[in-house]
């Protein structure tokens, strides 16, 4: 690659009207790729990467499988809505019973917002869920939060039912 970098620039002649530029470099076999070619290569590589959308909790073998239901949120909102309390209460009760288990709360959004704002909104949803659990007696040291904004939807159709599923705090058992 060093060879490629050996470019020689010679400027001769004076004045703007007559300028001669010499640039040499290692000629490369083909003309530049067309726009459509690069992404193909990307796709092939990324197919082997496992999709991280579905919840994959690292459950300890001795723990009974327990479904931690998502806490859902209203459009553009990050306060806990009454309908989400049952899910959060059952998560809190389960965490209070299983003292050795920690949880990561992921905040998610539907696709209708803008990416950066949604990342902040998702974080607010995760921290709202965390604060609720703490108020229900869960030790704050057991909870971590993260946001994925709109980047990891569980549902990709464009309708309200789907968007509602994506506006969620999702619980992942970490220990």
């Amino acid at each position: 690659m060093k060879k490629v970098l050996i470019l020689v620039l010679i400027i001769f002649a004076v004045g703007c009207a007559k300028k001669y530029v010499k640039e040499t470099g290692e000629p490369v076999r083909a003309k530049p790729e067309a726009a459509v070619e690069a992404p193909k290569e990307v796709k092939v590589e990324e197919k082997i990467i496992p999709r991280e959308v579905a919840p994959t909790p690292v459950l300890q073998a001795q723990e009974p499988a327990f479904e931690l239901k998502d806490a859902l949120f209203d459009y553009d909102k990050y306060d806990i809505m009454p309908g989400a309390r049952a899910a959060l209460d059952s998560v809190a009760a389960w965490l209070n019973k299983n003292k050795n288990i920690n949880v990561l709360i992921e905040g998610h959004c539907d696709e209708r917002g803008t990416n950066e704002y949604n990342l902040a909104l998702g974080e607010k949803r995760a921290t709202a869920a965390r604060d609720y659990l703490i108020a229900r007696g869960v030790a704050s040291t057991k909870i971590k939060t993260i946001s994925y904004g709109e980047e990891k939807p569980i549902c990709t159709e464009q309708n309200e039912a789907c968007w509602q599923k994506n506006r969620r705090a999702h619980f992942v058992v970490t220990k």
Partner: protein, 418 residues
């Protein structure tokens, strides 16, 4: 400071650094040219009564290099200030003669001839290796544009953007016209990113191992450095002409606006509110920061002085206004506003007057200005999957530049490549 080599994309980066280095070489000739005064400006692009200049481009050379005049025509056509006229038909006021020889290298001889005053106004010889044919052609476009308007052309600039695939977001870059797409960073989930003012660094936020941290990548030696790491979400927003980075961090609980130096030192908190403060961007003179806050109940754009004082609200229409981008002349802020359930690109003057809607078809997000302030790149789902589009700042000439089979979003236009 945490230095580490990016191994996965090293080859890509080598070619990027090579291309950037080549650009330096081509540019040297341009700069040399600038040192002499220009006799005449043929088009004043700031004039409200702009008249398009009729120009013809003739080509002599091998079939294999015919791409060169085609690229130049495409560049000049998109600039929107030329009428391209067939060289066999009269009516052109300026003619560009491009003669090309290809052997191991490409040699191009370009002359610009003023047909009204019957005189040669520009002549230059170019030699380049064959793998940078497009760069060579864009350099010729820049020289022609400069000769005719007296201003820098944008034809060698780049756009950095995100490709989303199977739940992964990787950082890519391409030429402004959509060619030479190259993956830059694929580790983690990358979201926001910015160019340093000298185009030498990309600064971006990635989620890796459940942490959103801010990184910088030196495009010359492909070294990545962690700039800011803390608990919570750390999202880069903008950078000033003197290399101050504005970002949001929730390290103390709620997302607030901070600034720090390009090497990650000297971070300073500027805002304090219970809600969301995010997406800070500097005004071109560095004196002000526009950002998004929901302190008034809905997400709106605010402006503050860059020391965090004098916060005032910029947007008042609608309930959702985000993603500000400051125009290079400092007069306008482009942003995303929600209207009738869809997101659209708007522009507003920094004193809250003269609101203009630039898009109307489906969702259009993440506006970014070209360095000359004449164009906006953005992403849109109007054709199904999200892709990158360009348009003039008056909303005209909207066109997609990324292929329809990839999800591409969040474009950031580079400064002039130096």
């Amino acid at each position: 400071m945490n230095y580490k080599h990016q191994s996965t994309d090293k080859n890509n980066l080598l070619s990027i650094s090579y291309v950037l280095f080549s650009l330096v070489c081509v540019l040297c000739s341009v700069l040399f040219c600038l040192s002499s005064a220009h006799a005449k400006v043929y088009i004043d692009i700031t004039s409200p009564a702009l008249r398009k200049l009729p120009i013809s481009i003739s080509y002599t050379g091998p079939e294999g290099a015919k791409e060169i005049p085609e690229i130049i025509k495409n560049d000049l056509d998109f600039a929107g200030i030329f009428y391209l006229i067939d060289p066999d038909i009269s009516g052109a006021e300026i003619t560009a003669k491009i003669s090309v020889e290809t052997a191991e290298e490409i040699k191009a001889d370009v002359t610009l001839f003023d047909l009204i005053n019957n005189k040669e106004v520009f002549r230059k010889k170019y030699t380049a290796s064959r793998n940078i044919l497009r760069t060579l052609a864009h350099s010729i476009s820049d020289d022609i544009f400069k000769e005719i308007t007296g201003r820098e052309g944008i034809f060698r600039t780049k756009i950095a953007y995100i490709v989303s695939s199977y739940g992964k977001n990787s950082l890519h870059m391409m030429d402004w016209d959509g060619y030479n797409q190259t993956r830059v960073i694929s580790s983690g989930l990358t979201l926001s990113h910015i160019w340093s003012p000298d185009s030498q660094y990309l600064v971006y936020s990635s989620e890796r191992n459940k942490m959103w941290e801010i990184y910088s990548l030196n495009l010359r030696n492909y070294r990545e450095m962690t700039l800011f790491s803390s608990k919570g979400i750390n999202l880069v927003g903008g950078i000033s002409h003197n290399n101050q980075i504005a970002f949001s961090s929730s390290k103390d609980g709620s997302p607030e606006i901070y600034v720090m130096n390009l090497n990650g030192s000297g971070s300073k908190k500027l805002t304090k509110s219970l809600g969301i403060d995010v997406s800070p961007v500097f005004s071109p003179d560095g004196s002000q920061i526009a950002f998004v806050s929901d302190r008034g109940g809905t997400p709106q754009i605010y402006i503050m002085d860059s020391d965090g004082t004098r916060i005032r609200r910029l947007t008042f229409e609608g309930v959702y206004n985000t993603s500000p981008a400051w125009s290079p002349d400092g007069k306008w802020i482009a942003f995303v506003g929600r209207k009738d359930g869809n997101n659209q690109i708007f522009m507003i003057k920094s004193d809250s007057t003269d609101l203009r809607q630039l898009t109307e078809n489906r969702n259009n997000e993440n506006p970014t200005f070209s360095p000359d302030g004449m164009f906006i790149a953005f992403d849109s789902d109007r054709d199904g999957s999200k892709g990158i589009y360009l348009m003039s700042i008056n909303g005209e000439r909207q066109k997609r530049i990324t292929p329809k089979d990839i999800k591409a979003m969040n474009p950031k236009w580079s400064p002039y490549i130096k």
